[in-house]
């Protein structure tokens, strides 16, 4: 008998019929002798509808009240799910954030889970019941409702699995696992049987959209095995687990990319202490997320500084930087609105030399110019022209032996 936490997203519970389907699947796992805790998101579209309602009331809804409003979405899902299980002759109970209780910080809309009480859930499981927990929501120290931000139900599920010491946290989604890269641009992408937390974090932050990044951090911290699998099949998916020796045999586990970036370069910046903070302070203050920052070695006391920001913030950033550039005596500001980032990821890099070199060579062979490079222990990222993104992903996928040769060429 295993204790399993299962999370189903909005598309998996998008209609009465789909909720019934989820209930059937859960009952099947329950009948196999497992204790099941189900975490549900709001029915697809519901959260957006509620947010729209708030914006009909005011352009700037009060964050506390917005959380009270949007948390009703998951409440509806868990109630309907428990009803569905009951009609099948099994016993289920729904629980909201306050009932569990899931204690969080009081940062409305992006609260962090502090701790979870598990007494009530454990009691219900011991009675042979299926437990359904509303995802995405918690309770702060004042007893106010909070929400965890978009994708927060993944975090609810993993945090519950950690607190309950569950055997596994299953994340049911509309894809059947984590792939070596995006199958829509590289048809030979393979589903991974295993991936380490560290790799998954890099994959997630580099643009793979399977798991909410905070949930992976949580899983890593508490060593919760995550099983990413499809709502629409019974096939095994991908296990996200702690690093094993086996994983190091493979040099690179996956290729990630992000488009819609833009690049800003400030030429001939006087290389003095405090210059970087002068440049980035107004950008950070505007809430713009700076991704990669590269500074060349200083020559004659002058250096070039280049960084990337989301394309949507490009013009705002250019305006802010141009203002600062004059003050600090830089020569000029150059911008490139459309760049992309491709990354190779793998814990095997730690034990294999020459990985970066192999990446550069593969891109060079296709005449793809590398504009910026950044590396970490288990990742190498290159900024390239946006138009080469798909080509670069396919080239790297093949160069590092990730192609599934059973799949035909596109």
């Amino acid at each position: 008998m295993a204790l399993i936490v299962q999370k189903y997203g909005g598309t998996s519970v998008g209609s009465i019929e789909k909720i019934r389907g989820v209930a059937e699947r859960v009952v099947k796992h329950h009948k196999e002798g497992n204790q099941i805790v189900v975490v549900l998101s709001a029915m697809a579209g519901q959260t957006d509808f509620l947010i729209q309602l708030a914006h009909e009331m005011t352009d700037d809804p009060d964050p506390r009240e917005l959380d009270v409003l949007v948390s009703t979405g998951e409440q509806v899902s868990v109630a309907l799910f428990a009803m569905a299980v009951k009609t099948m002759g099994y016993d289920a109970r729904s629980f909201l954030g306050f009932q569990v209780a899931i204690h969080t910080s009081n940062l409305y809309g992006k609260a962090r889970i502090h701790n979870i009480e598990t007494d009530r859930i454990v009691k219900e499981l011991q009675k042979g019941r299926i437990v359904a927990v509303a995802g995405f929501q918690g309770l702060d120290e004042n007893g106010d409702i909070t929400t965890l931000g978009r994708g927060g139900s993944d975090t609810t599920a993993v945090a519950l699995a950690a607190s309950l010491k569950a055997d596994v946290c299953e994340i049911y989604t509309d894809v059947d696992g984590v792939y070596t890269t995006d199958p829509s641009i590289c048809p030979k992408a393979k589903r991974l049987d295993f991936i380490s937390y560290e790799e998954m974090l890099e994959m997630a932050s580099q643009g793979a959209k399977v798991l909410e990044i905070r949930s992976v951090e949580f899983a890593k911290k508490y060593n919760v095995p995550i099983h990413v699998r499809s709502t629409f099949s019974n096939e095994r998916g991908t296990m996200v687990i702690a690093e094993t020796k086996d994983m190091e045999r493979v040099m690179v586990s996956g290729v990630a990319y992000s488009k819609n970036d833009s690049r800003v370069t400030i030429k001939k910046v006087p290389d003095k202490p405090g210059v970087a903070s002068q440049i980035f302070e107004p950008i950070f203050k505007s809430g713009i997320v700076v991704d990669m920052i590269v500074q060349n070695t200083s020559e004659d006391g002058l250096t070039d500084m280049t960084f990337t920001v989301p394309q949507s913030d490009f013009y705002k950033t250019m305006k802010l930087v141009s203002g600062v550039a004059g003050k600090i005596g830089a020569e000029k500001v150059l911008g490139d609105e459309g760049v992309a980032k491709v990354s190779i990821i793998g814990v095997g890099m730690r034990s294999h030399a020459g990985v970066a070199q192999k990446m550069f060579a593969a891109l060079a062979k296709e005449n793809i110019n590398i504009m910026m490079i950044s590396t970490s222990e288990i990742k190498v990222s290159c900024v390239i022209e946006e138009k080469y993104t798909e080509l670069a992903v396919r080239v790297l996928h093949k160069a590092f032996g990730l192609d599934d040769e059973k799949k035909a060429n596109q």
Copy 2:
């Protein structure tokens, strides 16, 4: 400075625009120096929509989960209301049943309020905030969500007013007060300035639909003055208060009626102990509500027994009674599908003789036959043919001097 609890029903908060209107009214009262606690129902139609959703899932939704589901309606209202107040530059906080907390029995769908904690609300009021409480919902001793049944928001408001020792509980609705009778069938009906709890209870249970009956019982028990008034005007409405000497000057305060009743008569029932229980047991067990029961004096050990049930339960009742009639040796069962009940109500009856006689005479003058009569200390009810309902109401209204002579005849 007064402490006022204000309740707004579903039609008063039926749209974003209407919620904004309620917020404006509440802010106005707040600015006049009052402490305001607002109780809101779900937006009009929302509760029905949620119940329908449950019935799409199953014909017989689990009661616990149904309460989890439908309680989201009021949650949406209070969140949007608090947002609206904030946009006007005033501070408001929404609270759900579990946050207040409103402790109830665990009879899902028809829970009774046991007690209300007021610490949090008092603290918020002391900070100068407007407090919005979700109506209709509470929390049982297991920490599960309960609802109070249809019209339960009235009860929430009155119970809150009692617990907070509020100066008044204002019930805002789509009519401007309690009338001597239904103005739609008697155009000369007058709005009452005052009515006693007892009279209001009789009016409510006799078919007047202004206040939920349990809320009046609660108000009577804790002596909470209720002010029934219109959401759409600033006029004074009707005060529902404890009986005063003044009220006794008037013989009759109002005329109530209920249609859609039916009548069943069992002829020549052997008048033995246990017969009544034999007749009514199957009816009660079927959940049919029996209103009036009349048993004639026994003659030769045989008696006639007559009672009324809702029209919708007529055929079911006839079938059940016919089954029993044979067993107990009654002669036959007669039925009348369409009857109505008209009642005159007034605490003044206690000190005025001949009220019932005056009622019978007024009906007789119009050739309206009286089929059954029942009386209480402050009420006389007559069952008549359904087609005479409107005529009887107008005749009684005039006979007891209730007509507003400033109003033209219809």
